[in-house]
């Protein structure tokens, strides 16, 4: 995502501001852009949410189907996270097979949900080893202005919390859909916080131009109990262990703030 | 302060020296510290700290003599594979002494795809592909001899200090040996036996480039091989 070309002058401006503790858009180093979360925006989906993070816009739809469980988890429902960098979202995005960035994005979001055991998958089994609920989380990036990971993680969590699960029953070894719904059983609320390393300083929630200047990216996902459930370093640069530890503490606070916004929405 | 003995093997990232020294080939400097950037032998000479690489690709430099293979041709130039990440260009004006008539003359009648040439690098920098010439005495199409390839990093060793190694090779094997800086060497001798011997010697030098007493050892090997054949 650092492929956008930024002039040297602009690069220097951005990094000089950051060295002096400020950012071009007026934010402090650890401030998020304004965040707006809407849920239930797609009626045909079992759950949905739109997140605006500054100008970055992501829609997540959750679809529920009946399918087979993984052979090593016969008593659990299945979670699948996918992401699409829709060509309308950026001049950099192209139609075609998923880019490595979009695969990474989906996998980082997936890891946060899975490792925090956010969804009570064991409650989503209908016939052990045969029929379970399959939860599809589809991340749709509509406008790319940086920090797709946090926006997508937030939208995914909001959409899952918004999800109404159609209730199926088992009759004579067959699953049948009823007209009833229940909320998707959730026990945890993972939230991702992403940093960019620019001029050896960490800034939270990088926007597109900052991503063009950063040499490394670090995402830390926290669960509701203040435990780390996923980490991902990205970008061509490297970080000192001290920077990483510093980031972990900031991320815990930020995750708490963001979580309150989603759970409220 | 030096952290290794002269000609010890070092690996990328090894701290070689600290203090007021000059960072030579295959090293980099941060503050007062000089680190190795390539696998090789460290050399401390005066104030200069450098690493003689054990392997490297060929990066053209103006003035280098290289051996290349014609890979493609178009209206007024050839592209030449010179065993480098960068394809070289040989323009008609750098190849022919007579005027070239685009309508009538066929480039492939002078140099065709697959032909080998001995050439000199005229120009190269980060933005343009290397440009060759064959318009100097001794340069041009190669019509006979055998080719050996070694890592370009070994070429200085094959030439030796003040050409001591290469002169010894020529004398002992009675072969004409033309060294391309790009790791390609042309050998032509009075007999296939002599050529074979020269190839054997060159391969051994490349293999043992990082050891000491090499010139004597190679000379002895050649003499031994020669007497075994008599």
């Amino acid at each position: 995502m650092s492929s956008i070309m930024i002039s040297r002058i602009r690069q220097r401006q951005i990094s000089q501001m950051i060295t002096s503790g400020k950012r071009l858009d007026g934010r402090g180093l650890i401030d998020y852009r304004p965040i707006k979360i809407e849920t239930g925006i797609i009626e045909k989906a079992e759950g949905s949410a739109r997140v605006l993070l500054g100008k970055t816009e992501v829609v997540v739809g959750v679809k529920v189907e009946i399918g087979e469980p993984f052979s090593d988890r016969p008593n659990e429902g299945v979670l699948t996270v996918n992401s699409e960098f829709v060509p309308l979202a950026s001049p950099e995005f192209e139609a075609g097979p998923p880019s490595e960035e979009s695969i990474e994005l989906a996998r980082v979001v997936d890891r946060g949900i899975r490792e925090s055991q956010a969804i009570e998958l064991e409650k989503l089994c209908l016939i052990p080893g045969k029929k379970v609920y399959v939860i599809f989380v589809d991340i749709y990036v509509l406008n790319h202005d940086g920090n797709l990971i946090d926006a997508s993680a937030l939208a995914s969590l909001a959409a899952l919390l918004n999800t109404k699960l159609p209730i199926y029953v088992v009759e004579n070894g067959e699953v049948k859909r009823t007209s009833e719904y229940m909320p998707l059983p959730m026990r945890n609320y993972p939230v991702a916080v992403t940093f960019a390393n620019i001029s050896d300083k960490l800034v939270v929630d990088p926007w597109l131009e900052e991503e063009g200047v950063m040499n490394a990216r670090l995402t830390i996902t926290f669960d509701k109990d203040g435990k780390i459930c996923a980490i991902q370093k990205g970008g061509e640069g490297a970080l000192t262990p001290q920077q990483i530890i510093e980031a972990v503490y900031i991320a815990r606070e930020k995750a708490e703030e963001l979580r309150r916004m989603v759970v409220k929405a | 302060m030096f952290f290794f003995e002269n000609r010890q093997i070092v690996t990328p990232g090894d701290l070689l020296a600290e203090g007021d020294y000059i960072a030579g080939n295959n090293t980099y400097k941060e503050g007062f510290r000089i680190y190795a950037s390539r696998l090789g032998l460290v050399e401390y000479e005066g104030r200069t700290v450098q690493v003689v690489a054990l392997n490297s690709v060929y990066i053209p430099s103006p003035g280098d003599q290289v051996i290349g293979k014609i890979e493609d041709l178009n209206i007024n130039m050839w592209t030449v594979d010179i065993n480098s990440p960068y394809k070289a260009i040989l323009r008609v004006s750098d190849a022919l002494n007579k005027p070239f008539r685009q309508q009538k003359d066929d480039l492939s009648s002078f140099l065709d795809i697959g032909d080998l040439i001995l050439a000199k690098v005229v120009a190269f920098d980060r933005t343009i592909d290397p440009i060759l010439t064959i318009k100097e005495p001794g340069l041009g199409k190669i019509t006979q001899g055998q080719i050996v390839r070694v890592s370009p990093a070994k070429i200085p060793r094959i030439i030796g200090r003040k050409a001591s190694m290469i002169n010894m090779l020529k004398r002992e094997t009675e072969c004409k040996i033309t060294v391309g800086q790009n790791g390609i060497i042309l050998i032509s001798g009075p007999s296939p036996e002599n050529e074979r011997l020269a190839i054997l010697a060159i391969e051994k030098i490349a293999q043992e480039a990082h050891t000491s007493g090499l010139t004597d050892r190679i000379a002895e090997m050649i003499r031994r091989e020669k007497s075994a054949r008599l």
Binding site: E100, E101, I103, E104, R107, R114, E115, S116, N215, A216, L218, G226, K227, I228, C229, A230, I231, Q232, K233, G234, G235, E236, G237, A238, L239, T240, P241, I245, V248, Y249, R252 | I9, T11, P12, G13, D14, N26, Y28, Y35, S37, R38, L39, L54, N55, S56, V57, I59, P85, Y86, K87, R126, T127, A153, Q207, E208, H210, T211, S212, G213, R217
Partner: protein, 247 residues
């Protein structure tokens, strides 16, 4: 991730008899493939991985060439027979992600700016997987890069730490990775003191994470020594042979 299997026994030892802070046996060899510009092989426990480097070379397709530096590409791939159940040969999403993070782990070490308009291609083939393959793959790829004579700021070395049965452990094997509570793969450049790959999955408190990060870095430092020995071994063997003959 429930502990059906005991991963730490009453003596505090792990399933393969290691102490918590002990690495698996590691074997490395450099220059194992003649076609490649650089190559290396690693065995770490039962994980067996080959790496080859081609380049710097002309970029194909040409429009990908960068005007100011070399294009670094990396493919991490698992052989179909490398795991219990055959893995389809087409790259999975996991392999695509790992290719990306490994590339980004190696990138800060390489002087890419020395070779504008070229590519450096790294191929990592996992022949047998028994946990920790992204780390061992990074370690062996760094060896192949150095063997190819590509200028680097430092070697890159990687190792995971994690938590199994409530205990922080170094260099997880497959079962510890699958059944354990957390896994923290780390790549490190020891002379520069920089972390260039960091991932985590599982659940850790901040304090546990700090310890795991330290443990992984200590593991990296141990492997670093082996890595340097492996790089020199090929040349030292020749040197020893000919120079002792001389005497």
């Amino acid at each position: 991730m429930s502990g059906k299997i005991r991963l730490i026994d009453e003596n505090g030892l792990r399933v393969d008899g290691r102490r918590p802070d002990e690495l698996r046996p590691i074997k490395m060899e450099v220059g194992v493939l003649s076609n490649a510009d650089g190559s290396a092989y690693i065995e770490q426990g039962k994980s067996k991985i080959l790496a080859a480097v081609y380049g710097p070379r002309e970029v194909h397709p040409r429009h990908l060439a960068l005007p100011d530096r070399a294009l670094l590409r990396c493919r991490y791939h698992m052989a179909p027979f490398s795991v219990e159940e055959r893995k389809p040969p087409a790259p999975s999403r996991r392999e695509i992600e790992l290719s990306k993070v490994i590339k980004e782990a190696l990138e800060p070490a390489i002087f890419l700016e020395k070779f504008p308009r070229t590519s450096i291609d790294i191929f990592i083939e996992v022949l047998q997987a028994d946990g920790g393959t992204r780390c061992a793959g990074t370690t062996v790829a760094a060896l192949a890069l150095a063997d190819a004579g590509i200028p680097m700021r430092d070697l890159v070395v990687a190792c995971a730490a994690g938590k199994v049965d409530g205990v922080l452990v170094l260099d997880l094997n497959d079962i510890e990775d699958k059944e354990g509570e957390a896994d923290v793969p780390v790549a490190y450049m020891p002379n520069l003191g920089l972390v260039s790959l960091l991932q985590m999955d599982g659940l850790l408190t901040i304090n546990e994470f700090k310890q795991a990060l330290n443990l992984a870095i200590e593991g990296c430092k141990q492997i670093y020594r082996l890595q340097k020995e492996a790089l020199k071994a090929k040349y030292l063997a020749i040197k020893e042979e000919v120079e002792t003959c001389l005497q």
